[in-house]
Amino acid sequence: MWVKLRRAYQVLFLSLFLFLLVVTSAGAIKGYPVGWFLWGDPLVALSTALASRTLAPHLLWSVPLVLVALVFGRFFCGWMCPMGVLHHVISYLSLKRKAVDRIAANQPRPAWQRVKYYVLVVMLGMAALGSTQVGLLDPIASTWRGLATVVVPAAANSGVAILQDERHFQFGWLIAAVFFGALALNLIWPRFYCRVLCPLGALLGLLSKFSLFRISRQEGACNLCKACVTDCAGAADPMGTCNTAECLMCMACLEACPKGAVTYSFLPGLGTHTTRVDLTRRRWVTAAAAGVVAVPLMRASDAGARPAPERIRPPGAVDEPEFLARCIKCSACMKVCPTGGLQPALLEAGLEGLWTPVLVPRVGHCEQGCTLCTQVCPTAALTPLTVGEKIGQPPAVDPVRLGSAAIDRGRCLPWANDTQCIVCEEVCPTSPKAIFFKEEQVRMRDGTQVLFKRPHVDLEKCIGCGICEARCPVFDRAAIRVSSVGETRSRSNRVILKGGKV
């Protein structure tokens, strides 16, 4: 009964997750709360709150999940987590046949299982200094990222369009390697990732030390048959210590026990289970210190000293330090971008900014009349915008600028090759246009006079949307390119004097 109920919940939540992922289709969200799983993630809330010293209102959805853990234990891990379901399925498919092998695979391995607490504490230590890195391993962000930037595009590009046409994400193979690598770990032990690596599991494990309902074992009733260990997903040692913090609430032990010795009940008595997290105080402190120290070390060797021209952030992005405090690299913005121009950064934003969104205009521009990415961002790393605010309609005084365009006169057809073109002027979406032309008489090679329209950029008007670069007919390296200079969010990354605060 318990296991069937659990499976029904797993199917339900995975379906809901996939539904929300798929409706976050390029160009529309149709009013669905597509970020719901990410909003409900307490690790995301905790890390971004530590790092930014504020809490994005949507993240209050994580409070229910904290309460669930405080009442029922790691219910989320066993019943709701979309990554957990995928891992559960792979574990199931790779189950050893012999009970004795399964019992061996499900033995508690404290030295391994405590790794996830190190991961959690290191990441929270980094967050304390303003660097949110939980998204690298958080199960919800990882699953979203893996599906949105690798699995769905691979399907769509092979003709299985799931509400989405062709898409490509740069260095997606790295995301794929991590995503599928995590799944492959289940071949070693069932739910390896959940037992050993998952920082959200670690956080929920710590919370479930205080849970009201726990799995416990009555020693007197137990005949030590090991049936409970055979399918224990969390390696929580049901026949031994019966560890609440490690228990994934898969409920397999309850059904397996022929004697009814294993029960799930309200505050079971002492000696029937443990809530111990196997980490000494010294180890907690060391891990936290490692996280805290990692941030200045990382930043000392990073790009902070020089500008980052290719770090073109989506509209509504807060200034870089706060952005790094908030962005969880979930790729929701990339999934919804109607042009596919939002790409996971490799090193454009430094090591810290791995997989954070950057606009690559040559892949796709930022559509002027679109603010979908700002609406799906779960952590307010992108401030929600209306189209009016984005384009600078009153009462907004200025449009949101992502950067500025610059013409490469050595590659531009009317400038370098005496050929007509002016596509960049045509597609420029501002009014008056940021790209304008001056007509110039040119004496051609054969002596004839020809009038050419040669493009110029008005930096006061340019919003850095990149459609000029996206559409430039010089196919490989465009003759007009956008860099981040002039971006609204930065006080220093500027070029023109007007409106500037020095």
Binding site: G27, T419, P473
Partner: protein, 323 residues
């Protein structure tokens, strides 16, 4: 004399299998080599003409003015003989508006949605079995059709919007002065009848965009290279398309910062609809509506020389319906 060799069943089967493998290798190799050559000289199909004969004495173009855009469309279509003269029961029809940009209707960068809806209704009333509305926008397609109001208008009027995807195109022969072949919307080749439904706008490169330039919007591929010789390219494309009927929307026109616009100060209301069969005449008329000198618009002269129509729209039989 030696005894004849006796093959066991196993040996006989093995021999047969070896022979078959040899034949497959030789035959398959020859077949693949033949394909190698066959693939090199594929003859591309051309777009067939979508035109219909007009009864003698019928007007070549009609202009209707008035505050109600849909009524202008209705009155102009009636004056040119009714949609039934162009679309027969059971036919499939492509309607090609200009939906190039992610803009609102009042910004006048796309064909007016009420005009599109009214044309759809007339095509439906004529008994068309299938009605597609398609364009290949410059901005993100779904957003363009959404914010232009055209998705909703077309859906309500009972036609299907075709958003272009990677499988929507087919290569056809153009045989023009500049363009030899082009990737165009498949539906242009598939539809029995084609109605061009542009709007009239200022354009930085060509000065005017209207009927002829609207055919740029059926192209996929890397079409921005056409700007290097835009005037000849426009004429090549218009000569390829051979539409059944053209409805030119000048309800709101974009006077500056075209073809994208964006500011309401770029927009002027002319409350005019022109319907006709000579796209050169219609564009020349459109230029005069905008206050442009048609003699300065390169593609009109080239189109006239190529025999696509006449710039002297006054020489054609016409009807004017005042507001």
């Amino acid at each position: 004399m030696s005894k004849p060799r006796v093959f066991s069943r196993r040996e006989a089967l093995q021999l047969a299998a070896t022979s078959a493998a040899g034949l497959v290798t030789v035959g398959g190799g020859l077949w693949l080599a033949a394909r190698h050559h066959a693939n090199r000289d594929v003859v591309l199909p051309s777009i067939r003409s979508h035109r219909v004969e007009q009864p003698a004495g019928a007007p070549r173009w009609v202009v209707a003015r008035g505050p109600d855009a849909a009524a202008n469309v209705r009155r102009a279509l009636e004056a040119i003989g009714g949609m039934g003269a162009f679309v027969k029961r059971g036919e499939s029809v492509l309607i090609k508006p200009n939906v190039g940009w992610n803009r609102l209707p009042e910004q006048a960068a796309n064909t007016n949605p009420e005009v599109v809806a009214e044309v759809v209704r007339h095509v439906r009333a004529a008994g068309a079995a299938k009605i597609w509305v398609a364009d290949v926008p410059v901005n993100a397609a779904e957003r363009c059709f959404e914010r232009s109001g055209i998705s909703r208008a077309v859906g309500d009027a009972g036609a299907t919007v075709l958003l272009p995807g990677s499988n929507s195109f087919t290569e056809v022969s153009v045989g023009g002065q500049v363009l030899q072949s082009a990737n165009v919307l498949k539906v242009l080749a598939d539809a029995d009848k084609v109605i061009n439904l542009p709007m009239v706008k200022q354009h930085g490169l060509t000065q005017l965009t209207g009927c002829l330039k609207n055919w740029y919007g059926v192209l996929g591929g890397h079409r921005v290279r056409l700007h290097q010789d835009i005037h000849h390219s426009i004429v090549d494309l218009a000569a390829m398309a051979k539409p059944t009927l053209t409805v030119l929307d000048a309800t709101r026109v974009l006077m500056a910062n075209g073809p994208t616009g964006g500011s309401l100060s770029d927009v002027k209301r002319l409350d005019t609809i022109v319907v006709g069969l000579d796209e050169v005449a219609l564009d020349t008329f459109g230029a005069s509506l905008m206050g442009f000198d048609p003699a300065e618009i390169g593609f009109l002269e080239i189109a006239e020389k190529a025999g696509l129509g006449t710039r002297d729209f006054r020489s054609l039989k016409s009807v004017e319906i005042p507001g």
